[in-house]
Amino acid sequence: MIPWIGQPLPRFEDPPLLTGEGRFVADLTGDASFLRFVRSPVAHGRIVSIEAHEGITAFTGADLREVRPIRPLLHRPDFHPIEQPVLASGKVRFVGEAVAVVVAGTPEEAEDAAEQVFVDIEPEDRVISAPDALRPGAPAVHDHLEGNVVVDARFETERVDEVFAGAAAVVEFDLRSRRQNALPLEARGSVASYDPRSGRTTLTASVQSPHVVRTVLADLLGMPESDLRVVVPDVGGAFGQKFCLAPEDVVTAWVARRLRTTVSWVEDRRENLMSSFHSRDHHYRVRGAFDADARLLAVDADLLCNIGAYSCYPVTCGVEPLMALAEFPGPYDFGAYRVRSRGVTTNTCPMAPYRGVSRPVITLAMERLMDLAAVRFGIEPAEIRRRNLVSEFPYTSATGLVYDEGSYVESLDRAVEVIGLEDFRERQLSARSEGRYLGVGFSVFSERTGYGTSAFAARSMDVTPGYETVDLAMDPSGNVEARLGASPHGQGLETTLAQLIGDELGVAPARVRIVHGDTDRTPYGWGTFASRSLVIAGGAARLASGRLAAKLAGIAAAELEAAPEDIVIRAGRATVAGTDAGIEVAELARLAYHSSHRLAAGMDPGLTATATYDPDGTFSNACHAAMVEVDPETGGVRVDRFVVVEDAGRLINPMIVDGQLHGGVTQGIAGALYEEIRYDEEGNILTTSLMDFLPPTLAEVPTFEVHHLETISEATITGAKGLGEGGTIGAPAAVINAVADALRPFGVEITEMPATPSRLRRLVSESERIPA
């Protein structure tokens, strides 16, 4: 199976996970004591007193005074930093905020003990929604921040008003995306262990970026990084929720050091739904100007993101509004753009980026704009997209982003063909005459992936992520170990990197071991998020293995008395091109360590190589098409068919790509139709169980049809582009557009997701009251 790249190799990760051999934080508590957090029942208030029943070991913010507050930072004038103490001190700012922690022998005793801690909080006026937080006189969530605006960014090209004034048609609408929780199957948790012999503390945690966690822990606890080790075992899903720092992890490490012991915190589902990070509570007002041929000329957008009570570390709460601002234009070619994008703090659970970050919502906005304009001009949604999609590369967007080669129009055309649009329109018409409402929806989008330091630096981040380093070693037996700072947790990177490295070094992927998730064993890196790991860690792996292959070739050349450039390494052998002369790679490995006297002068013994890769980024693209049936009497939606035409450049492992899309699209359908975190007016959270927060199950999602295009661009050295978030980015717009298409006879506008049955039914019944 050479080359290994492109093969649908079964994932090396799966056998242990599927046979119960996975090891997650909760499997690794050993003889730890257990923590349980006491959480605020009040959305906003002043802590009057906290008292623990006698005999209970409890700590409060006052005990942790020496721990620095979390202070995520952007260096830009339109950003106002806010601080978060790891345990509330003085004030509470959302229901579920940790105000104290208890320690007990078992999780159950800890839960009992937590009930014996009495917290007296004097409630203050609270503010729950972003628009309310902007009202004059709204309560200030953070005393020093009047107006509650943490980030207020603007961008404007020339001539926006002029273009709108001269437009043939202006399409204008409001859009709202409700609040979600990324809902990893395994909630958050960690085990912290203090070793009195070395004085070191090991935090075994379910996180996405062990090195960043180590750095910030050291900063907040005021200790050298070398006294800390962060280990990431198997992670049962993260989706961004475990990328930003959990204050609870800091407390867990602090308690272990304070008590000089091992302690563990394992979050339950209720805590996860209430107190871990939420995501994507956005309100938009969008206007688009079109010429007489339905060509989009300008966009004017006002974007409001509810960031919750605190800013998340390291990306800050600027991540949603600033990404929305920069990437709003998506795959459409227009020049005039004005946008204001604000992040607003409220008395709700803090937000963190969730798979797709703001792009599921901005994609929904652009795709609604296209569909609404298509209706206005009386043309097919596919046709208006064709007229407006980017088709020449490299393309520079209104905000200055450079898109490498993609297949925006081709992916749309392919999707139209696969679903059989013309036949569908006929079926749709005849179904309507029987009182059944079918709809089709498209979503075309660009997915910025694999971006390095330059892209993050453009956001002026105090902590600027970007590069990845891979340390590679071939041992004397010819097996390879690759150590990474990236931290895969379900993406299949142990398999795809082994495929990349295997091709380069002429060894089977099964002989390549990927080591990650341990700060003692891996080079500094940024972890796994933002659809970056295959591109960036993969690029570094490719570079490092190139270097190692060159060394192998050098050794082989000396042994075979040939020129290094004539050596070909393939299928475990180094041969002289065009001859039968050759030597086993394993033999070269042995030689490099055990007969170093035979190496050419100046060559070091051993076989190691290191490389760092830090690309500017690349754009994947895709078209999603959803077919739905809506029951206007109940508001129920059934997704009948879902087609994805994806272009992520070179596919290293197509099966893994499909898996990423299946999971991603499912989460997109979740956002479009099902999942919603709800608060009441007082800021009480109403959705703290899976009876009320509703992820779709297998019964609610169709079989996915995935098709691939492979546009190879120069933007990455492997030719691969990222695609981890695409499913989630594209699916909501496809589904919502399909629902809107189905309900078109009722003349209703869908301005909100999730489009729940009760909301859809309300739209239909209100329109029924309007006489035809």
Partner: protein, 295 residues
């Protein structure tokens, strides 16, 4: 597990004492002793989640799972007798010939997911009295009679008086529900069952169960029961009345469904307002009637 034995390391709920009953009289004795402090543990599919959330905090659990004497189905002339411990899954195949067995089977498939149906019990569902529970709606539709046992003897309670409000029934804390008696529908009765839920296996937002006769094309003995719309399962007497003697047509069904939607006292929750519930009653009642007539 021995009576009274409790392993703290295995329990997420607040601490409690545990008694395993070996007979109905022993269960009743425990309930008599502990009264309000005690809860019966049947299939545990509602009680255990509530305890894990610490919403329910019984000091004492009386486990009736060993009571085979409550796990029976009997046909007594025109009555189907169901022991309290019969599991939901039993009803997936008709347990009796004719419309009663068919209706029970239609509803059974909607009760949660298979693992829940394997543990959960008919009696537990009635005693728990979730307004959207299938068995509560069916019991009301069929005018079931429910029998209890307690230290002072026992009572028979008609379904119409049994369900009081959310999670609240006429059962006294010291009473054990032992049997439900369902008067069987006549062989030529037609039945329909429709529900709408957010996801497969979820509690219904609303459900409609109907039974009617229409031998000569005219409706007789129409019954409509609704779940998930109010604080308890409801009959729709005005709609039932309106159907009496009507020709079974789309219009008469539509009219009856409209009456049902208006006569009920609907309440809303985070999944849908009272108005939305009425809309569902309108649609599902009509569809259940059409389904019944089509069968």
């Amino acid at each position: 597990m021995a009576p009274g034995y409790y392993t703290p390391a295995l329990m997420k709920p607040a601490p409690f004492d545990y008694h395993q009953a070996r007979s109905v009289s022993e269960a009743v004795a425990h309930l008599g002793e502990y009264g309000y402090e005690a809860k019966v543990l049947a299939g545990g599919q509602s009680l255990v989640p509530a305890m894990n959330f610490r919403l329910a905090r019984p000091a004492v659990l009386v486990d009736i799972n060993p009571l085979d004497e409550l796990d029976y189905l009997d046909e007594d002339g025109d009555t189907l007798r169901i022991g309290a411990m019969v599991r939901h899954v039993t009803f997936e195949q008709p347990v009796t010939k004719g419309p009663t067995g068919r209706l029970l089977a239609m509803a059974a498939h909607h009760v949660g997911h298979l693992p829940i149906r394997i543990r959960g019990t008919f009696g537990g569902s009635l005693a728990h009295a979730d307004p959207a529970a299938e068995w509560c709606v069916i019991a009301l539709l069929l005018d079931a009679e429910l029998s209890t046992r307690s230290l002072s003897g026992g009572r028979d309670i008609p379904a119409a008086g049994f369900f009081q409000t959310v999670f609240t029934t006429a059962l006294e804390p010291e009473e054990l529900l032992v049997e439900a008696r369902l008067p069987k529908l006549s062989q030529h009765t037609r039945v329909g069952f429709q529900q709408f839920s957010r996801r497969a296996g979820d509690f219904a937002l609303t459900m409609a169960a109907v039974a009617l006769e229409s031998d000569d094309g005219r409706v007789g003995n129409a019954r409509i029961a609704l779940g998930g719309v109010s604080d308890r399962p409801l009959r729709a007497p005005e709609a039932e009345q309106a159907l009496e003697g009507q020709v079974a047509t789309e219009e008469s069904f539509r009219a009856a469904a409209e009456i049902a939607a208006l006569e009920i006292d609907a309440i809303g929750d985070i999944h849908g307002s009272a108005d939305y519930r009425r809309d569902l009653v309108r649609a599902l009642t009509r569809r259940a009637l059409e389904q019944a007539i089509a069968a």
